[in-house]
């Protein structure tokens, strides 16, 4: 499925600010599920954008505006083609998770991190699922995915970055990154490697994930998670609206948690932000299947 995505964030300040320095992570990744066709970043006031790829494989666009300004607009436009994720065809048992090579290569995704630091409640809930389900890893991941979805009610604006997962579980409310962090923490607490994913989601409504009946939606960036399945790879699930990650999901990047893939971060000298306006416009356009296949062939 082909999408044109327009990410746009505008900061408006109370007074003149200077020396804004920022990093943007908004570029769709290219992997076995999606192919980036085009991408560009513009800022107003204009700036020289310098791109690199970070430790996690995510494209980072760095830019700075030294001159005094009253507002900053950041626009990233991407064209991307998605395809169906491969089916999980293996059924590894839990003891495959303790394989030394598997643990070593997924070490980072097994540790608690700033936003996934779990405690008793998370760990107990995950263990109950494990004890109940038996030895199939995929079933356990799916169960934890459902558990994350069932534990929180989607409430826009209910949390801010920095709330730990135990508190979110306790409150029972959250937004998509809370669902993702909780799912990640649940998995890691029973030694399933899991990572946080930042991305875009084409849907009429984030909470239900229902497809839109139009070809254009106005949303926000989205978050989900991926769990490592021994012998298969990463299984991507969207706990917020309880579905597998599919054609309408566009991944930006992944990391241990939100802090490794924040869409935009930076500093500015001067007053605090007065207003922040952020939007993501996603347009579904006619599939250009052949293009995608050519790109695939070229890669091979």
């Amino acid at each position: 499925m082909r999408f044109d995505i327009r990410y746009r964030t505008t900061f408006t300040y109370d007074g003149l600010v200077r020396e804004s320095q920022n990093e943007l992570r908004a570029c769709p990744a290219t992997d076995d599920r999606q192919q980036l066709i085009g991408y560009r970043v513009m800022t107003n006031p204009s700036s020289r954008v310098s791109s690199s790829v970070d430790y996690w494989g995510t494209r980072v666009d760095a830019f700075g505006i030294r001159a005094p300004h009253l507002s900053l607009e950041v626009v990233a436009e991407a064209a991307v083609e998605t395809r169906q994720a491969p089916m999980v065809t293996t059924a590894p048992r839990l003891d495959a998770l303790t394989d030394e090579a598997f643990v070593d290569s997924h070490w980072e995704y097994l540790q608690p991190s700033a936003h996934t630091h779990w405690g008793e409640a998370v760990s107990a809930a995950a263990s109950r699922q494990r004890d109940y389900l038996g030895t199939d890893v995929v079933s356990l991941v799916l169960a934890l995915h459902r558990l994350a979805g069932a534990s929180i009610t989607y409430t826009p604006g209910s949390t801010y970055i920095g709330v730990d997962v135990e508190a979110v579980l306790d409150e029972g409310e959250g937004v998509c990154q809370d669902f993702a962090h909780l799912a990640v923490a649940l998995c890691r607490s029973v030694e399933i490697p899991a990572r946080y994913v930042s991305g875009y989601f084409f849907a009429a409504d984030d909470a239900t994930g229902v497809d839109a009946d139009t070809d254009m939606v106005d949303v926000q960036t989205h978050a989900w998670f991926e769990a490592a399945i021994p012998g298969f790879g990463w299984l991507a699930l969207d706990p917020t609206n309880q579905r597998e990650v599919g054609l309408r999901h566009v991944k930006i990047g992944h990391g241990r948690d939100y802090d490794d893939v924040p869409p935009l971060r930076g500093t500015v000298a001067g007053t605090a932000v007065h207003a922040l306006d952020a939007s993501v416009e996603i347009r579904r356009v006619g599939s250009i299947g052949p293009h995608w296949q050519i790109a695939q062939q070229q890669q091979q």
Binding site: T9, D218, Q220, T221, A223, P262, A269
Partner: protein, 326 residues
């Protein structure tokens, strides 16, 4: 060429030193000239002093009456007064410390020991019991620092910024002093003009130049226009200008502070004192003072502007994630 931050520190080092010294001088002169005066005269004199130091509104916030005790305390040590003498010395020392590598060790030591000496004393007790000792100590220490400064500091850009700071500060306060004395000309006896001379330690130099004159006009001429007396407005401006010229030469153009200051200096240089007295001198002095303030601003813009971007950095993000579609 030097770091903007260093230049700014040196500029303020100069200003604070000067400010501490003249504030003390004025307290000293006022205190002693009032020993034999009536109460109403006393209050007027203390209010004038506060006005010259631009501390009147700050002082009024304390709600205290303008008596010797309260004004002395406010100008000398009050924590609420960011321009108090002890605050000026503390800030001069802070500025010196941040350019510790650029100034002679002896200069740092003289300023640091001044600061330490001031902190070892109970200034409130000193003020109450024997203010004269304290005035003397501060004046002497200030002069020691000035002496060390001019004896040990290389005549480089750093020196220039200290000098510009001192001279602009000095010229400004002298303008205010003259404006306030002149404003009250009617009921000002020559005895008070003498006090004005004394607070600029100009009484002797004036007597030498004007041979026992008792004419206020000549006092004004001396303090405003003397090309030889180092505390006259004209003298201070000309010295600041000379240093600005050398700094500006590195740009290969005439800088804005040079233009502004040149204009003020020329206005004074070619003025006739009769003309000045004929017009509204008070208003003129107020204007000159505010023009000098503009010079200081433009020095900051020209040379420290970069360092004025020092507002703290605040995170711009995070941008919202995953709130619901609309």
């Amino acid at each position: 060429m030097m770091l903007s931050r260093h230049a700014e520190s040196l500029f303020w080092l100069g200003r604070y030193l000067e400010r501490a010294e003249y504030s003390t001088r004025m307290l000293d002169v006022t205190y002693h000239s009032l020993l034999e005066s009536a109460a109403w005269e006393s209050e007027r004199a203390w209010r004038d002093l506060l006005q010259v130091l631009r501390s009147e509104s700050g002082f009024d916030k304390t709600g205290s009456p303008a008596t010797s005790e309260h004004v002395n305390r406010f100008v000398m040590i009050d924590r609420a007064n960011s321009d108090s003498v002890s605050a000026c010395i503390e800030r001069a020392r802070e500025n010196a410390r941040s350019v510790r590598e650029l100034i002679p060790t002896e200069l740092w030591q003289s300023l640091n020991s001044f600061y330490l000496a001031l902190n070892q004393r109970d200034l409130a007790v000193d003020l109450a019991e024997q203010p004269y000792d304290l005035y003397e100590m501060v004046k002497q220490r200030c002069q020691t620092v000035s002496g060390v400064l001019s004896d040990t500091m290389a005549r480089d850009d750093g020196w220039r910024f200290v000098t510009i700071g001192r001279h602009l500060e000095r010229a400004q306060v002298m303008c205010r002093l003259l404006a306030i004395r002149y404003q009250n000309l009617g009921d000002v006896s020559f005895h008070q003009w003498l006090a004005a001379l004394k607070s600029a330690s100009a009484a002797e130099a004036f007597r030498k130049a004007y041979r026992g004159s008792q004419d206020p006009a000549e006092v004004i001429e001396f303090l405003l226009l003397s090309p030889v007396f180092p505390r006259s407005v004209f003298f201070s401006l000309r010295h600041a200008e000379a240093e600005l010229d050398i700094l500006g030469a590195q740009f290969g153009r005439v800088t804005r502070p040079q233009r502004l200051l040149g204009r003020i200096r020329a206005g004074l240089e070619f003025a006739e004192i009769e003309e000045l007295l004929h017009d509204d001198l008070r208003l003129h002095l107020v204007e000159v003072e505010s023009d000098i303030r503009w010079v200081a601003e433009s020095v900051a813009l020209e040379y420290f502007r970069n360092s004025h971007e020092f507002a703290p950095f605040v995170p711009t993000g995070p941008a919202p994630v995953g709130t619901k579609g609309r």
